[in-house]
């Protein structure tokens, strides 16, 4: 059997892209493992974590608010005629609630968060790298990884579940608007229907996995920015590739987590 060498793979465009992708994932893994080494050692920079959480929350708040409400509204509007066809119109609140809480809410929030925050972190750290601010920190005997990266990853990880629960709530409210307009259902009945359909096994995995999504967004944005090079072009590249890579990883990890959730809560 002929063994294909690395050089032969590199000669094709697909081969190059694949090798680059796996090399990036390997470097990102090393970068992320360093987080676990450094996060538990003092100084803890809690002030910075708090500051980033507020900044990230404020930055993402408007977009997730609009998206959350509309996704619930649209989902209900789209599903209502289909359910009507099967005579299952009364299941609409439950169906929307389950779809949003189990999958749509966490993934949609994570993707929006990646688009807004990962690119921002990539650009900010990238700009600090190319203007030698990170070097200045290092030469002042301050650990830039701890001060810049660890704080941002923690902030992203902690803020994601909060944002997701907020998006879930708004989506359910958006859905109520559609239900009210088309089915004339009162709010109390709607909420009862939603609450009765949700169980711990729907709520917990949906929110828990957002911790991992938040970590991915923070780690990828920081990784791309921290190692940015080639001036302003590099900063732009870091920002764009942070969004692409974090969105891709969120979707890939979500696929695995859905399978794990199904296995754990049969």
């Amino acid at each position: 059997m002929k063994i294909i060498t690395r050089e032969e793979i590199l000669r094709t465009n697909i081969g190059k892209s694949l090798i680059n992708f796996f090399e990036t994932i390997a470097d990102l893994s090393v970068f992320s493992i360093r987080f676990f080494k450094e996060a538990f050692l003092p100084p803890y920079e809690l002030g910075e974590v708090r500051k980033h959480m507020v900044e990230l929350g404020v930055k993402t708040f408007p977009i997730v608010s609009v998206a959350g409400f509309i996704i619930g509204l649209v989902l209900a509007m789209q599903s209502q005629p289909v359910l009507l066809r099967f005579g299952a119109e009364s299941f609409l609140p439950s169906m929307v609630a389950l779809s949003v809480v189990r999958e749509l809410g966490p993934v949609l929030t994570a993707l929006l968060f990646a688009g807004r925050v990962s690119s921002g972190i990539g650009a900010e750290l990238g700009s600090m790298r190319v203007t030698e601010q990170i070097d200045a920190m290092e030469v002042s005997a301050i650990n830039p990884y701890k001060y810049l990266v660890v704080t941002r990853i923690i902030a992203c990880t902690l803020i994601m579940p909060i944002l997701t629960m907020y998006v879930n709530f708004l989506a359910i409210m958006g859905s109520y608007l559609a239900v009210m307009l088309s089915m004339n259902m009162n709010f109390e009945l709607y909420i009862n229907s939603v609450v009765n359909s949700l169980q711990f096994s729907d709520l917990f995995p949906g929110v828990a996995k957002t911790l991992i999504f938040g970590f991915i967004v923070g780690a990828v944005g920081s990784f791309k920015g921290f190692y940015a090079e080639n001036g302003t072009v590099g900063v732009g590249r870091a920002s764009t590739s942070a969004v692409v890579l974090s969105s891709l990883l969120i979707l890939l990890v979500d696929t695995v987590l859905v399978k794990v959730t199904v296995l754990l809560w049969k």
């Binding site: 900010e124 700009s127 030698e132 002042s140």
Partner: protein, 239 residues
Amino acid sequence: MVEVVKLNKSFGDLSVLEDISLKIEEGENVVVFGRSGSGKSVLLKCIVRLLKPDSGEVFIDGKKVTNMKLKDLNELRKQIGFLFQGAALYDSMTVRENLEFPLIRNFNFTESERETKVKGVLEKVSLEGAIDKMPAELSGGMKKRIGLARTIITEPKLILYDEPTTGLDPITSKEISELIIELQKDLKVTSIVVTHDLICAKIIADRAIVLKDAKVMYEGRMDEIIKMEDEFLKDFFTV
């Protein structure tokens, strides 16, 4: 104070420093000359281990920097100041926060001690009024001055300057050079200055080192080097 022994550094196939050896005594002001891309800034970064040399050794105060543990290296770095080419001020912080940043993280000064120090260095660089400004609100010369203030606020024993006057007009450039020499007299520090500004070098240098083709080409007193009958040096200093 600083000794570099047979230092080599390359990036891919490009050799930037080849067998560089030099010695800088305590209290000395040494200027490193060379064309753009001759490895001057790389040399400074290797000295503080911002870049890891491929081979060779760097000693500061007799301590081997090249394979020092990070904890020890950071202790040593607390005694070193580095003025970056673009000043490298933290652009999300005010001037005051920039100056306080190394003090808060590395030393145990009280708030009033920090305040005294911040005001003291700002007075030294004549920018007391800029204390609450953001770096984006400062001109190039002001940024360099604040960068210099941040460098000296920890009272380092060794200061490395990476092109301190590049991009400044001749008057500001002269002012910065005079400020550097004044600070050196006040604080009695050892300095290594990378530059291709002849005016700056004439003001600052006790001794000069010229890098060419990744190697040390000449080493000696500034006035001697200027008078040397060498085509490269003549071109360098007349242009």
